[in-house]
């Protein structure tokens, strides 16, 4: 009976969250468009008029009117948005290729980088958190400083350090040869360290908090040892919020790819962003930012939908509030600024 009510609540919850996600994606597109449109000057025509582009005045006029660039911003937005809804991301101003084509070219590389970075971050975070709990003094307590330290080091510095050490000194990989597994590993490590620090912070705080809960003491009074207590009792409630945090970290990884790809000389979404910024290739910039928002929103939607299935406490509440699937207020909010 309770389960049936729960399921109905869950379906309502899922549908509402999905609808919200669609709205958020559309608004993200609009917001990006608005921000890009306040750009001073007229970079579009500047780019087109660049002698190197080889367009004639007539061609430029046709292009400008084709894209409606002579129209008011709101009208442009309307056209752009309707094209976006049909799946058309427009044409790059720099290369004159379809934006979807350009993006599709670089997405796999960044996807591999981002996924490896998240995987490395999770492994690192759990290693640190377990170390904090179970390594003897002074090693365990000393590990507590690690997340804070990782959060204080700029990503670009980690990248430079890794390259200096493993590429220049030890010659393990070449920076130019970006497709090699080792190069990808070190790039992912660069990106993953900052993320691991945020996950480790949440995990350490949760393990501490759960270990202080009444039930932990009561479980020990049933003869459980430290390791059994951790594995059977503390791990699940501590690790559950990590699902949510990990989903939020997708944004960190996508943003961080700009820096990491620049340092490791990788072709990817991040370097495409950097190139589009320097050439003022607005359709590409618009497309990449929107795509990142789509990935973020979809991953977080999945996380929010999965969470109630994992945590029995929120299953029945799922229909009521979105915030139930979020980490408790006591859990440190992950800082969202990236480098």
């Amino acid at each position: 009976m309770a389960d049936r009510v729960g399921n109905r609540g869950y379906v309502t919850y899922a549908l509402r969250r999905a609808a919200q996600a669609v709205v958020v994606i559309l608004l993200a597109y609009v917001l990006t468009f608005v921000v890009i449109s306040v750009l001073p000057g007229d970079p579009v025509t500047t780019t087109l008029r660049n002698p190197q582009s080889g367009f004639t005045e007539e061609q430029i006029a046709r292009i400008v009117s084709y894209y409606g660039l002579d129209q008011p911003v709101l009208v442009q937005l309307w056209h752009s948005l309707s094209r976006f809804l049909t799946g058309d991301l427009g044409v790059s101003l720099r290369t004159n290729l379809p934006v979807s084509h350009l993006v599709a070219e670089v997405v796999p590389s960044t996807l591999v980088l981002a996924a490896s970075a998240l995987a490395i971050a999770v492994v690192l975070a759990f290693t640190i958190a377990f170390g904090v709990q179970y390594l003897p003094r002074p090693f365990g307590p000393a590990l507590r400083a690690f997340p804070s330290l990782f959060l204080s080091v700029p990503t670009f510095l980690i990248g430079l350090l890794l390259i200096q050490l493993f590429s220049f000194q030890l010659g393990l990989f070449r920076v130019i040869d970006s497709d090699s597994g080792l190069a990808t590993f070190f790039a992912a490590l660069t990106l993953g360290i900052f993320v691991s620090a945020q996950i480790a912070e949440v995990l350490i705080a949760n393990l501490d908090q759960e270990a202080r809960q009444e039930y932990a003491g009561v479980a020990r009074s049933r003869g459980l040892g430290q390791v059994q207590l951790l594995l059977r009792h503390l791990l699940k409630p501590s690790a559950l919020p990590v699902v949510t945090v990990l989903a939020l970290m997708v944004g960190e990884v996508l943003g961080g790819s700009v820096i990491t790809e620049a340092i490791f000389g990788r072709a990817g979404v991040g370097s495409l962003v950097q190139r589009s910024v320097s050439t003022q290739d607005l359709p590409v910039l618009q497309a990449v930012v929107t795509l990142a928002a789509v990935v973020f929103v979809v991953v977080n939607l999945v996380a929010d939908l999965v969470y109630p299935l994992l945590d029995p406490r929120v299953r029945l509440l799922a229909g009521q509030r979105r915030s139930t699937a979020r980490p408790e207020p006591g859990v440190p909010e992950p800082g969202v600024a990236a480098r």
């Binding site: 009074s221 009792h233 945590d311 406490r313």
Partner: protein
């Protein structure tokens, strides 16, 4: 400030049930199962338990009694060696079955936990892992029993669940903790503790988070199991009456030091230490007439037919929730309170008493019915005119730890209502604040403190001063002492009754504690599931209850077995 002890034991109107815990056993207990000598526990540099010693014989029961900060729970944790790691340090000697265990390496001590030392925790709602099923956690206890396979373990768990009075053991086994009530969870926890058949059960305030009627049933269960399984019991409680009812000998603790120890009969009936005597005097159930003189003032008013009616609640109903899931929190509730008297609303959790007073304060709107306070209709008013009524109608909350803004100082807290209602000029306000604090027995030196620098009793006095400072006619008291120790409660009750006698205040007093109600109220409404099931004067309700539910409530008051003669 506490009134003179009234130790002449009072005649109670009903005879307490024979408590199994004190049932005479065969002769003196042979060997000490647990012997504690010179036990001290320190957190950081603070010693919270100093040189405590006692013994528990096999099959015997001992209660540790004390208020908060007495170190009683710390002793329990020290015995189980579950003190917070790295912070708490225990020293002294703890012998279990003749074997010193305090200095044992954790490796050697761990097998004792669960198998020989069982533990029943204080708050059942937080004592089971919320994300694992009860069955999975019960298996941990069953694994301590040697020589049985997985199937037998499950059978044993289900059998134990039935033994502790869970009507549907299978359902409890499959449930997550949040799906069961507090009473059921405590049965589960007791079951898990006794399942491996330990020789000693340490129960840390096992009922203080439960309703009174459930409290009695759980204590009966513990006593019954103790007897049938021959387990010794170390009961830790703040309630002298419970201790006396359930244990053969008592130890009274204060600030980590033993004040008095001995067989229940002597410690309870003839306490020799000042603190034990004080504690005895402060337990409402043992001293129903403690405030008879002060209460008489209001009783005269209540008996006088010419006393005007201050509060009238008529046929009030309030329903919460939406279509599929409606709960009628208050159902056709009516009562009237004469000016200058105390009316008590009594009930367990979920009885609707809190909703009733929220309606009375205009914090909720009733679906049906009317409420008249001091001749003024309370509902259907504008915000501004409701404010006017509220000036005469103040509230003291249950928990003084949440009802005072932690960022404000005492002076500002007490002055807030004066500022809001724009009463007097700056100088007058300051005088009124001081006067209000004085009337609740707080000195001026507290004016610049923040709530975190006050004790619970001081905070609740500040809350009362805040309610008093605008000179209201009516004060609604929502379990004002249930978060406080009995000695603090006694002080607060004394303050409230004096103020009523002097200022002619009308109180609506909400409580689950019938013994306390008897001490201070004039009329009583007993609530159950949103309805008033019985209504009358204190004498009528306590001496001649008509309803079964009222009788159950009255029977649940612990009074200390056999001591009231």
């Amino acid at each position: 400030m506490a009134p003179q002890d009234r130790l002449t034991t009072t005649t109670l109107t009903r005879h307490p049930l024979p408590a199994p815990g004190v049932a005479p056993t065969d002769g003196p207990h042979p060997a000490a199962l647990l012997r504690v000598e010179g036990l001290s526990v320190a957190y950081g540099g603070d010693e919270v338990v100093s040189g405590v010693g006692f013994t528990v014989a096999a099959g015997a029961s001992l209660a540790l009694i004390g208020e908060s900060g007495s170190g009683k729970s710390t002793i329990a944790r020290a015995l189980l060696r579950l003190l917070p790691a790295g912070v708490g340090r225990a020293s002294g000697r703890v012998e279990f079955d003749g074997r010193e265990v305090l200095g044992l390496p954790e490796r050697h001590f761990r097998p004792l936990r669960g198998r020989t030392l069982g533990f029943v925790p204080q708050d059942p709602n937080s004592s089971l892992n919320p994300v694992r099923t009860i069955g999975m956690q019960a298996q941990e206890a069953a694994r301590l029993v040697e020589g049985i396979d997985a199937g037998e373990r499950t059978d044993l768990v289900l059998e134990t669940f039935a033994q502790v009075g869970l009507t549907d053991p299978r359902r409890a086994y499959d449930a997550y903790p949040h799906e069961l009530s507090g009473g059921m969870l405590q049965r589960v926890l007791i079951g898990l503790a006794v399942l491996p058949r330990p020789s000693l059960l340490v129960a840390d305030e096992p009922t203080s988070a439960l309703d009174v009627t459930i409290q009695k049933r759980i204590l009966d269960l513990l006593s019954g199991l103790r007897e049938s399984l021959g387990i010794s019991l170390l009961l830790i409680t703040h309630d002298l009456a419970i201790a006396a009812e359930r244990a053969e000998s008592l130890i009274v603790l204060k600030d980590g030091v033993v004040q008095e120890a001995g067989p229940t009969a002597s410690v309870f009936a003839r306490p020799t230490s000042a603190y034990a005597r004080q504690l005895h005097a402060d337990v409402p159930a043992l001293n129903p007439d403690r405030y008879a003189d002060l209460r008489a003032v209001g009783a005269t008013r209540a008996a006088d037919p010419s006393t005007p009616v201050k509060i009238e609640v008529r046929g009030v109903t309030k329903t919460f929730g939406t279509d599929g899931n409606r709960i009628t929190a208050v159902n056709g509730v009516s009562f009237a309170v004469p000016a200058g008297t105390t009316h008590a609303l009594v009930g367990e959790s979920g009885s609707g008493k809190t909703t009733a007073i929220r309606l009375l304060l205009g914090l909720e709107q009733p679906d049906v019915g009317r409420i008249v306070v001091a001749g003024e209709e309370l509902h259907g008013r504008s915000h501004a005119s409701l404010r006017g009524v509220r000036r005469h109608l103040q509230l003291v909350y249950q928990n003084p730890f949440t009802s005072l803004d932690p960022t404000w100082r005492v002076e500002r807290l007490v002055r807030e209502p004066l500022d809001r209602f724009a009463i007097g000029d700056k100088r007058e306000r300051s005088q009124l604040v001081r006067a209000a604090l004085e009337s609740v027995g707080l000195g001026e030196h507290l004016l610049s403190r923040k709530p975190s620098a006050l004790s619970g009793g001081q905070r609740q006095r500040v809350a009362i001063a805040r309610a008093l400072v605008v000179r209201p006619d009516v004060i609604v008291l929502d379990e004002p002492t249930s978060a406080l120790d009995v000695s603090v409660q006694a002080d607060i009750v004394d303050v409230l009754l004096r103020l009523q006698a002097e200022l002619g205040l009308t109180y609506v007093f909400v409580s689950h504690d019938l013994a306390l109600v008897r001490q201070l109220a004039h009329t009583v409404s007993v609530m159950e599931r949103g309805r008033i099931v019985e209504h009358g004067t204190v004498t009528q309700i306590f001496d001649d209850p008509q309803e079964q539910y009222t009788r159950t409530l009255l029977d649940s008051i612990p009074v200390g077995a056999g001591s009231a003669s």
